[in-house]
Amino acid sequence: MSHRHFQDDLDKLNGSLIRMAGLAETAVKTAVTALTTRSKDIAYEVIDQDGSIDAAEMEIDDLAVNLLALQQPMARDLRLITIAMKIANDLERVGDHAVNIAETVIYMVQGAHFPVLPEIEEMARISTNMLSVALDSFIRGDAAMARSVIKRDDRVDELHANNFRILLTHMMEDPRRIGAGMDLLLVSGNLERIADLATNVSEDVVYLVEGRSIKHRASDNRKAEGAEQSENGTVSGSGLVS
């Protein structure tokens, strides 16, 4: 029951966001391909495409500000517009991380060959998949799907910590590997951030669908789970969990 005019603009905003999501997802996937195939050409593709992601962010911000100023959106419409701005911001960062990975690849292929750790490949697989599922959950308005993304962030953090340890060991063993080791560590860090941003997008999708924020509740959630598990009468009883 909203204005057709308004509805047209909302559809346009939604469409721009979906297009931007596609660009960001492609950037990450291409950057990972560049990494695993050690291809400079593919890495340059990622760098060349980044301008269109930046332009999409500006277009979405513009649309969103105009909708807020001119249409007095309410309820779900209001949530869609506010999260559109946040998701656009997150996707722009995702694009930047893809560029960082691509730049590292260009630098790496000039140096001595150092195999990409299987842990980094696994991280790349999980992070790109988290991003795809997060964006899918936005397109479908599916909060359960979004929640499934959030749960997987811990695994990526764990892999990043492992990479740090593994690469540090390699570098201590053979100082000639410090350059390549640092490069891979940077890639690992970028992938970890991409997973974080996918998590942000997912949290925003839950807010869009359910109207309540689930951000910064990790410890609450763990406490609540603990309380559920411990039956009758331990200290962490449900009465103490706010």
């Binding site: 029951m1 204005h3 005019h5 308004f6 500000v65 105009n66 100023a69 249409q71 007095q72």
Partner: protein
Amino acid sequence: MSEAIRNPAGPVELEARELSVLYGETRALKYVSLKIPDRQVVSFIGPSGCGKSTLLRCFNRMNDLIPGVKIEGEALFQGRNLYGTGVDAVDVRRRIGMVFQKPNPFPKSIYDNVVFGPKINGYKGDFSELVERSLRQAALWEEVKDRLEANALSLSGGQQQRLCIARALAVEPEVLLMDEPASALDPIATQKIEDLIYDLKQDYTVVIVTHSMQQAARVSDHTAFLYMGEVVEYGPTNELFTNPREERTEAYITGRFG
């Protein structure tokens, strides 16, 4: 000051040039100059008594009907001064239609309301075709097609207002002036009128006076903010509401005065 008046590009349908309206000694409108583009929606906003309705009424010579009114400057329609010699006020009002704040259908059937103007003008075409077209344009046809002989006063307020719009459109005007067309209506009827305004600009130039800033923001392409008889700022609606150039506009649209 010229920075605050940003006339749109493209063909001009209506224009005010140094236009003033005096009620006796009081200058209600002070040397207003602005251009209204063809087939777009322009709204006039501002606090009560700012001159927005006075400016609107200049464009179809409605102020002529008020005793003691004096008009200075020019109001042009397609480049021709509406107040020039040899201009027929009745012809002006046929080509520049008007819809008022309160729906004012004639106490006749729906059908008779629509054909009233065309009959007076000696319309030679098919009346039932004209009635259907006008009611469709006013987004009322589906609701009344089975009871065209019913009395117009039996319609709801929102339907009556759309009937008045159909009646104004039936004489095939080029411009539609609307003076607070939705202020007497509930939100749903208001929304229908706003959707209708959006559709009408395909074929007509629409100028709307509204004391609802939100309405101006929603429906218009360009907005003029008037204060104490002057146009303080005029420009694209999205600019005026997101980044006004004048402090007084900013203060008004953010609710700090007026």
